[in-house]
C-alpha cells in the first residue's frame, strides 16, 4: 500500500472515531441539563401522569445508553427527529439552512482565499516596504473590528450612503443565482474583512521563511524575477502551514458566523441554532452541534491530507 493512501485511510478513520466521541459528548451534555425533553415540551402544564405518558411515547423511559444508540442510529440513517417547538422535521429544516450556510461560506471563501494568497505574496515580495505596510495595516484593521461593527459600517456605507446593496440578506428557493449573490453581498464583504488578515499574514510569513533558503538564492542568481521566484519556488514549499490556516478559516466561515447571520437576517444554521437554544429545543441543538463538529473535523482532515501531499518528502519516501 502506498504510504499516502495508508495515511489517508488512517486520518479518515481517526476523524470518524473523533466524530463518534463528539456525538457522545453532545449527548452527555444534553443529558446533564436539568429536566428532560418531555418536561421541556410540557412546560408549566406538566403533570406526573402526562410526563410519564410522553416519556413512554418518546422512549425517554429507556436507559441512556439505549437512547444514545437509538439517536445515533437515527443520525446514521438521516433521521434527526422533529423539533419540539414547532414539530418541523429537523433533517429537512437543516438541509435548506445548511445549504445557505455553505453558500455564504463558499462565496466568502472564493473571494477571501485567493485574495489573501495574492496579498500575502505581494507583501512578502515588498517585505518591509510600503506595499507590505499598507496591506498589513488595512487587513489588521478589518480583523480588529468586531463583526457587528463592520456589519453596521457596510450597511451604512453601501445601503444608505451609496445605495447599491440590500441590508437584509434573506435568500429563498426559487431565487436566481444572480439574485442570491446580490442578496449575500454585504455579509460576504464583512466575512472577507474578518478572515482575510489571518490567511494573508500566514502566507507572508511562510513565504518569507523559505525565502532564506539556498535554492531561492540560486533562483535569484539565475536572474528570475522576484514574483516568479515567489510563485514557482517559494510558494509551493510554503503551502503546508498556509493550508492549515485556510482550513481553520473555512471552518470558521461555516460554524462561527452567527453574529453576521443575525445582523443581516440571513436564514442559515447559526440563527436557527440560536433560536432553538433559547427555546431549549434539545433535539435541534444536538443535531446542529453534530453537524458543526463534522464540518470542523472534516475540514481539518482535508487540511492534514493536503499538507501531507504537498510535502515532497512525504510524497516520495525513500
Amino acid at each position: 500500500m502506498h504510504p499516502i493512501l495508508k495515511l489517508l485511510v488512517q486520518r479518515i478513520a481517526l476523524g470518524l472515531v473523533l466524530l463518534l466521541a463528539v456525538s457522545a459528548v453532545i449527548f452527555l451534555g444534553v443529558e446533564a441539563l436539568p429536566g428532560d425533553t418531555a418536561q421541556a415540551i410540557l412546560g408549566q402544564s406538566a403533570t406526573p401522569q402526562a410526563l410519564e405518558n410522553l416519556r413512554a411515547q418518546m422512549g425517554l423511559d429507556q436507559p441512556a445508553l439505549t437512547r444514545y444508540f437509538n439517536w445515533l442510529g437515527g443520525v446514521m440513517t438521516g433521521d434527526l427527529g422533529k423539533a419540539l417547538t414547532n414539530g418541523v422535521d429537523i433533517a429537512q429544516a437543516i438541509g435548506q439552512r445548511l445549504g445557505n450556510t455553505l453558500f455564504l461560506a463558499g462565496c466568502a471563501a472564493v473571494i477571501a482565499v485567493p485574495l489573501a494568497l495574492i496579498l500575502g505574496a505581494v507583501a512578502a515580495r515588498y517585505a518591509g516596504r510600503w506595499p507590505d505596510k499598507v496591506i498589513s495595516a488595512v487587513t489588521l484593521t478589518t480583523i480588529s473590528l468586531p463583526e457587528f461593527v463592520a456589519a453596521y459600517f457596510v450597511i451604512y456605507l453601501l445601503t444608505i450612503v451609496f445605495p447599491v446593496f440590500q441590508p437584509v440578506a434573506i435568500v429563498f428557493p426559487g431565487m436566481s443565482f444572480w439574485a442570491k449573490l446580490q442578496a449575500v453581498a454585504l455579509p460576504v464583504i464583512v466575512l472577507v474583512m474578518v478572515v482575510l488578515a489571518h490567511m494573508m499574514r500566514m502566507t507572508r510569513a511562510a513565504i518569507l521563511n523559505v525565502m532564506q533558503s539556498a535554492y531561492i538564492e540560486t533562483a535569484e542568481l539565475k536572474g528570475l524575477s522576484p514574483m516568479t521566484i515567489i510563485w514557482k519556488h517559494a510558494f509551493p514549499n510554503a503551502i503546508a502551514p498556509v493550508i492549515s490556516v485556510v482550513a481553520i478559516n473555512l471552518a470558521y466561515l461555516v460554524v462561527g458566523v452567527v453574529v453576521v447571520e443575525v445582523v443581516f437576517s440571513y436564514n442559515a444554521l447559526g440563527q436557527y441554532l440560536v433560536d432553538h437554544v433559547t427555546k431549549r429545543d434539545l433535539p435541534v441543538v444536538q443535531a446542529v452541534g453534530l453537524i458543526f463538529a463534522a464540518v470542523y473535523i472534516g475540514l481539518n482532515i482535508i487540511a492534514d491530507v493536503t499538507s501531507i501531499i504537498a510535502n515532497p518528502r512525504l510524497r516520495h519516501p525513500k
Binding site: A93, I160, Q166, V168, I170, S265, D275
Partner: protein
Amino acid sequence: MSEKLDWMVARARAGKMNRREFIGRTTAMGVSAALASALFTKAAHAEAKKGGTIRVGLAGGESTNTLDPALAASVVPQVGNAQWGEQLVDMKPDGTIDFRIGEEVSSSPDSKVWTFKIRQGVTFSNGAPVTAEDVLATFKRHTDEQAQSGALGIVKGITDMKAEGDKLTLTLDAPSADLPYLLTDYHLIIQPGGGYDNPNAGIGAGPYILETFEPGVRYVLQKNPNHWDPNTGHADTVEILSINDNTARTAALQSGQVHIINRIDPKIAQLLAGAPGVEVRRAVGRGHYVFIMHVDKAPFDNNDLRMALKLAVKREEMVEKVLGGLGSVGNDFPINAAYPLFDDSIPQREYDAAAAKAAYDKSGHDGSPIILRTAPGAFPGAVDAANLFAASAQAAGIPLQIQLEPDDGYWTNVWNVQPFCASYWGGRPVQDQMYSTAYLSTAEWNDTRFKNAKFDELLLAARAELDETKRKADYSEMAHIVRDEGGLILPMFNEFVAGIRSAEIGGWVDDPNAEMMNYRAPSKCWLV
C-alpha cells in the same frame, strides 16, 4: 387657502392625517366642522389602489414559530396569521367592533347568552364554506388545555356553545357585556373544523392565501380572489420578512427594501423622521409603565402619603426623557383614550411640589426613607424613570430613595412581594378586563393590594350593563376611585412606533389596538 385644503385632503386620502387632526386643522382655517367632517369622510374613503407587492420587515420572529394561531406569541406570527386568517370579530381603530365572520351579534338582557349571526358565502382558502360549526370547533379547540392556546383564559368562561344554521350561541358562566370585545383576541382565528386535524395548516378565510412560510424567515401571501371584503387585501402579494436587528431593519426601510417596519428605537426615531422618503408613525397603545404601592403595608397604607407621591411625579419630563417623547402621560388609573368608554373629562394630575409637600406633612410620615425598588428589566428605562421620580420627590421634600435590584428574579422576589416597586402592564382590549386582572379585590394579580367594596360593586355592575352611557359613568367613577385612592402611580403610556415609506404606502392609520395597525397593516394598506 384652497391650496392648503387640497393638500390636507390629499394627506387624509393617503391616510396620513386622522379625523381629529383633519377637522382640527381645517376648522382652524375657517371651514365649518360639518363640512370638514364630510370632506374627511370622502377623502378617507378614496379608492385604494390595487396590485403590487407590499413588503413588511418586522422584529419579533423566531425560527421556532408555527402557523398554529393558538401558539402565536410574537409579532411576526401575529401579523402573518392576520393575513391568511379571519376572526369572528375584530377591533376598529376607533375602539368599536369590526364584524368579520360574525355579521351581527345580540345578547340576552342579562348579557349571559350571546348569539352571533355567521356571514354567509364566505369560504376558506381550501374552498370549503365557513360555517357556524367551524367557529364553534375553533373556540372549542382553544378551550382544550392540550392546544396550549394563549386565549384559554378568554374562552374558558364559555360554558356552552351551540351552532344552528347560521347562528352561533355562546352561554357564559357569568354575565359579560364585553364578550364581543374579548373575542377579538388575535389567537381566535377561525380554522376549518376548528383546526383539529392540523392546526398548522395555515388555511383560513383571510384576505390573503398563504403561499410560503419559513419560520423566522418570511411569509409570502397571495391575494384571495374570493375574499368578501373589498376594503382589505389591496396588494396582489404580501411579503413579511423577519428582521430582528434594529439597524438592518431601519436600513431596509431607508433603502426601500421594505415598505413598512415596526419597533423603531426611540433613540433614533427623531433622526429617522428626517430621512428622505420615510415617515415615523406613532400610535398610543394601552401598555403602561407603573410604580406600584401595596396599600395594605406601612407607610403606603396612608392615602395622604400615596397622594403625596402621586403629586411628586414630573410626568411630562418622564415621557420626554425615558420614552424619547414617544408616549403619553398617565393619570394614575390604567385606562387611556385607546379604550372604549374612556372618560376624557377626568382632570390630568400634574406635578405640584407644594401640594405634594402638604399631603406628605398631613400623612405624618416619620421622615424615614421611602424605598422604591427598580431594575433595568422592570420596563425599558425603569432605572432612569425611578431616578427622575426620586429627584422630583426630593425637591418636594419627600425622602424617596431608589434601591436597585437585579433583573434575575425581579418578577418573583420583588414584584408583587415588596411594597413599592417599578413594573409594567400590557393593555387589555376593554376596561373590564384590565380592572378585573389587577384591581378587583379578588384578582390574582392585584399587585397594589387594592380592595375597595364600592369599586368591586361598580366593576361587576358595569360588566353586566348593556346601556353604554351607564357603563361609561360606572367606569368613570371607578377611574376616580383608583386615581385618588389606589396604590398605582402611572406616569406614562408607551406607544407603538412604526416606520413607513410615505410616498409609496397609502391607507396607514395609527391604530391603538396593537402593533402594525392591529397586525393588519399589510392587508389594509396599499401601494400608492
